[in-house]
Symmetry: C2
Subunit: 281 residues, 2 copies
């Protein structure tokens, strides 16, 4: 049975990529909500509704666990999905928060993320659960996703915008910085330059794959051999709600496993109501 | 009866503003699809489906005419909506194309727009209907909307990005430039600086309001006196599909009429099927 991974669009591919690297025996079903991207500027209610529709789709695909590879959806929908879902669920925020707490020496942690993730206060909340005395400084960076999607990964404009966003965090003396949006690891070098050498950069995608691996191992759900793949049965399946071709192009620039096809799904036909008992199985 | 105006989000407010200026006696019902913004990176099919849902909502509000104040929706959905809709409909592309043809001296017209509007080829098509010999050069500018929405209207970064986008158009010797996205008039000065003094800038929002006015006059649908407004009956009503508060803030920075409230609508509950005969009747 595959692992389900979902995101508002393409950013979650950085999480899928880490799962592929760390668990090469696993199958993956990825869903990118490209018709309704971005989630980062939407309300909690809307993001929760969309997330439930996607979880229904993934359950229909018989996934054994779900990784919410979107910081905004993790911030806004994880508690409900965790409560309602019949398979284990992991978000990207808790693993990122945990690692930041392990890394920081001065207890001053910075978070860069979308507007919605920052508004949710989720990183601060999780960090305080682990390290009540930590000081958390969060900065919304709405331009970074469009800059990444425009391909300006190494560009003076992206450097300039990143420097502006980080200025106040650096002023607060942070020693650890969480890249709290799945797009950001793609401009890790730019963020590293703007942050300076002394600051630890945390990539929640990496930490989430690690934590998912140990969760699956605990539940005895890890696959211990490469999946037997017949003709036309790919190890990795990609679904989107719109613009399948453009998705594929971008995906192939991030993931080096050769994404042969992605399929368009009418996600709006799935119910957004809380999962009922029958669905829970 | 009010005029219905809709857009994928806030950009269409520049069209609503022109209608307010040019037709101060008219009531307006505005819908911004802030839950599903942006349309500029979505497919024709998705944009048409969303547009039909919004038209249904506006018809329920008893509008006497509809202005599609979104270039992408005008490019992708106008023909169907025009055919199916029981009230007159206007898009922003035809008026912009017409004015560009009137303005150009050398027949070389530039268009800057979202990726979807450029892909649709709509501006080129309309311009060629009017001026078959014109040469049209279109450039997708995906970063301009996020830069406008981030408030960087006067900023060296926006100058730099705009200069890059315009470089190839200027190289082609255009003398007229259509601002083919409703956000762009908000950075008209930046675009003007990058284009240079000799190039005519066309604002389709202005031209659309002009054409709507003459269309309503021809149909004897123009209101000839200020609407009688009782307590709680505003001349302008604003509806959104998400983030009503944020919309209002932005709207008030664009429109100087004091937008007192905007209401959230569950647009996904409206059917996206073609309008049936009963609805037309």
């Amino acid at each position: 049975m595959p692992i389900g991974v979902f995101d508002s669009g393409i950013g979650g591919l950085t999480v899928a990529r880490e799962i592929m690297r760390q668990m090469p025996n696993e199958k993956i079903v990825y869903f990118g909500d490209t018709a309704r991207v971005p989630y980062g500027s939407k309300s909690r209610e809307t993001v929760a509704r969309y997330s439930r529709q996607i979880v229904r789709f993934l359950l229909e695909r018989k996934v054994k666990a779900i990784a919410i590879a979107c910081n905004t959806a993790s911030a806004y929908a994880l508690p409900e999905i965790e409560r309602e879902c019949p398979v284990p669920v992991i978000g990207v925020i808790r693993p990122g928060a945990r690692t930041a707490c392990e890394c920081t020496k001065n207890g001053r942690i910075g978070v860069i993320a979308t507007r919605a993730t920052v508004s949710s206060g989720s990183y601060t909340e999780f960090i305080h659960q682990i390290m009540p005395g930590a000081q958390v400084f969060a900065q919304a960076c709405p331009l970074l996703v469009p800059l990444v999607e425009e391909g300006l990964w190494e560009d003076p404009v992206t450097d300039e915008i990143t420097r502006r966003y980080l200025a106040s965090l650096l002023h607060h003396g942070i020693d650890t910085l969480i890249m709290g949006c799945t797009h950001y690891p793609l401009i890790r070098k730019t963020i590293g330059r703007a942050a300076g050498e002394t600051i630890s950069l945390i990539n929640p995608a990496y930490e989430t794959a690690m934590e998912l691996r140990s969760m699956l191992a605990d539940l005895n759900l890890l696959s211990d051999h490469r999946p037997a793949l017949g003709q036309g049965v790919p190890q990795y399946r990609f679904y989107v709600s719109d613009m399948a071709e453009q998705f594929q192009q971008f995906a192939n620039s991030i993931i080096k496993y050769g994404i042969l096809a992605s399929e368009k799904i009418d996600i709006h036909t799935y119910s957004s109501a809380p999962l009922s008992k029958e669905e829970k199985g």
